[in-house]
Symmetry: C2
Subunit: 400 residues, 2 copies
């Protein structure tokens, strides 16, 4: 049998081709040339089935366009930059509430507010967009906007979250959710790259983000739980037993990146063993293949109805994480994991007919929803995965 | 082949037996003898997997206990009454916020607030509990509490909903959701039964509830849409195209009951044809059997991840609705539909080993979650269905 190592050139070639096919889909179907910003509710063939603009995805698409513009000559085009800038303008004009600094979750195509969440994620993706737009344009306005938003996020999360509008209820003490520490690791990595002064400014926030993330290692480090107490203890009930393998694995590569940057051997080891390898083993469906969306650590039924569905994004994160773990450790077990996800993903999620990937499969791997973009799926996880993996594969093949 | 009509005694016998098995499950496993109220997160065998008390289900279980106490001699016991009263006390002490009148969505086992929704449903089930508790106890305190809550609900829905705490956003005009008109039909039927003065008081609210419900008939009456504009027009996008067959069918029997009570022949006809027969045909999975959870009226993929799952409650509602439609019309097509749901339900949802019904099946009919009680499943849809169907079957068999 061909080893995974021997297939590296094949992986690279297929992922390069797939990146172009995926970006073609968004470039062709998602631009709102009238209002700016991006349509995201796109059917299998790219046809729009809803005009609503989901704001996580507005920020993410701007970030993605800028990332490609800044990293691949092929995407360093005026068209890409122009679309990103119009998206950034839409974010600043309509997604952020200038009075409160809160960002909406959904707006109409013209930018009228439809829905606001009492969390921080629209704001996080707003920040990522501004941060990468600053690099693409060399315009300090965007960078200052990103810094301002990060400072506000830090205030909400570490000092006072009253402005988020969540009621303080006696039976609901604060908790530590994996998404929070994890997203801060990503925000900091993105914003401070190549800027030692900003790295210095946010050093203690980065330390806090690592600590918050590591608190989710429970039961002697054998599992990553989605929600723990603020003291890093296991919580009672379904919420306390919940595992989200895709989230754990995504956190894994954020931690690994951080450990690599700062040369923290112990952190790197925790990242690859506890956040990537173990959740991958636990989260993989031995019978039908693919990563579960949710699991209960005691083997009970998760209350999330979609627990056994196979979603595109955990597979994207697993491709990045296992390849990065291989790059850092040179252990072939990570390349075997990568191969497993690659084969599952390229045979099930990829749509050879219309481009982009399906997002939702049932446990057996059959497509349950055929749209390419929707309230939570946009131009982000798939092209980010393909960009990062092709970059890593090129370096691995060059022996760097 | 045996006709559905010939199987009526079999249906009755199996549903009577099932009602007792289901109630045994709740009587044995759900009572919190220390704090009052009911544990609802119960695994396949009745073992508790979470202490949280979901408040829709607190109100519903009190209502169910009282309904059985008031209707079946077998359940007219001090134990049932005592548990219902303790549940009622828990609702009044801990679920309702005395300052605002709002009810919580979740509380701890001791009654500390965990979560509050910006909707009206915890309050609706609180009202149902008080209304039936008044009948069981002959205590006017409960009746006044029910009336007070209904008046408050009417104020929120028809006059001013500021107190619900939903932000008013420019891109989100008010809409007419099926759940709202539908639940008011049920609340009014329950509260005013046998009380002509109350029927008089709420006559215009009942008329409003009928009108609101009928607005959901769209496309020349061929479909029932879950959400329409306040002018009764179809809305754009996924939300505007959404159908929930179980909801339509449940609304169908509420409307049919209302039409029967007031001898409104035209309303009865709309109820059985447009709200029961058509959504049943559209909602039934021709390949695997069972009712879909959601469908898009244009045949696109619904964005709800669980759209193709088969949930227990639409099947409970379909059993009630088709049998009631048969009782009122004597058309055998409704008995055929009843038989179809009966056979699907009794072969898939019923758990002969541990009692009560599974709540969640995948499209092919395999159990995906094995718990009997959870955040949205309690002592309500199954026993309500079994009580109403056995009562109807007895009358049909007696030729009444």
């Amino acid at each position: 049998a061909t080893t995974a190592k021997a297939r590296l050139p094949e992986f690279l070639e297929m992922m390069e081709r797939e990146l172009d096919r995926v970006m073609d889909f968004w470039l062709k179907n998602s631009h709102d040339t009238i209002n700016g910003g991006f349509y995201v509710c796109l059917g299998r063939d790219g046809k729009r089935y809803d005009d609503l603009k989901y704001c996580w995805l507005q920020g993410r698409q701007v970030w993605m366009y800028c990332k490609l513009y800044n990293n691949l000559p092929k995407y360093h085009t005026p068209e890409i930059l122009q679309a990103a800038k119009k998206g950034g303008q839409f974010l600043m004009n309509y997604v952020k509430n200038p009075t409160t600094g809160k960002c909406y979750f959904t707006v109409t195509k013209e930018g009228k507010a439809v829905k606001v969440q009492r969390t921080i994620f629209s704001e996080c993706f707003y920040m990522l967009a501004m941060s990468e737009l600053a690099r693409a344009t060399n315009d300090d306005v965007y960078k200052q906007e990103a810094i301002k938003m990060l400072d506000q996020l830090q205030h909400w999360v570490c000092v006072d979250d009253t402005a988020l509008g969540r009621p303080q209820l006696l039976g609901a003490p604060r908790v530590n959710s994996l998404a929070r520490g994890m997203i801060f690791l990503n925000l900091l990595d993105e914003l401070t790259a190549g800027d030692p002064a900003l790295q210095e400014k946010y050093a203690s926030l980065e330390k806090w983000s690592i600590e918050q993330s590591l608190q989710h290692m429970q039961r002697e480090g054998t599992v990553i739980l989605e929600t723990v107490s603020t003291e890093g203890k296991e919580l009672p009930g379904s919420a306390g037993r919940l595992m989200n393998p895709g989230h754990a694995i995504e956190t894994g590569w954020f931690l690994l990146q951080c450990g690599t940057k700062h040369e923290l051997a112990e952190l790197k080891k925790l990242a690859v063993d506890n956040f990537i390898a173990r959740p991958f083993q636990t989260g993989w469906d031995q019978e039908h293949g693919g990563l579960y969306s949710f699991l209960d650590v005691d083997g009970l039924s998760p209350t999330q109805l979609e627990w056994n569905m196979k979603l595109w994004w955990p597979h994207c994160e697993a491709l990045i994480a296992t390849l990065m773990a291989y790059r850092e450790t040179k252990e072939e077990r990570f390349l075997d994991m990568f191969e497993k996800v690659f084969d599952y993903t390229f045979s099930r999620f990829v749509d050879l007919e219309h481009g982009e990937w399906f997002g939702y499969l049932n446990q057996e791997g059959k497509v349950t929803q055929d749209f390419k973009g929707g309230p939570f799926k946009g131009c982000f996880h798939v092209p980010r995965c393909l960009l990062l993996c092709t970059q890593m594969l090129q370096k691995i093949l060059k022996g760097e």
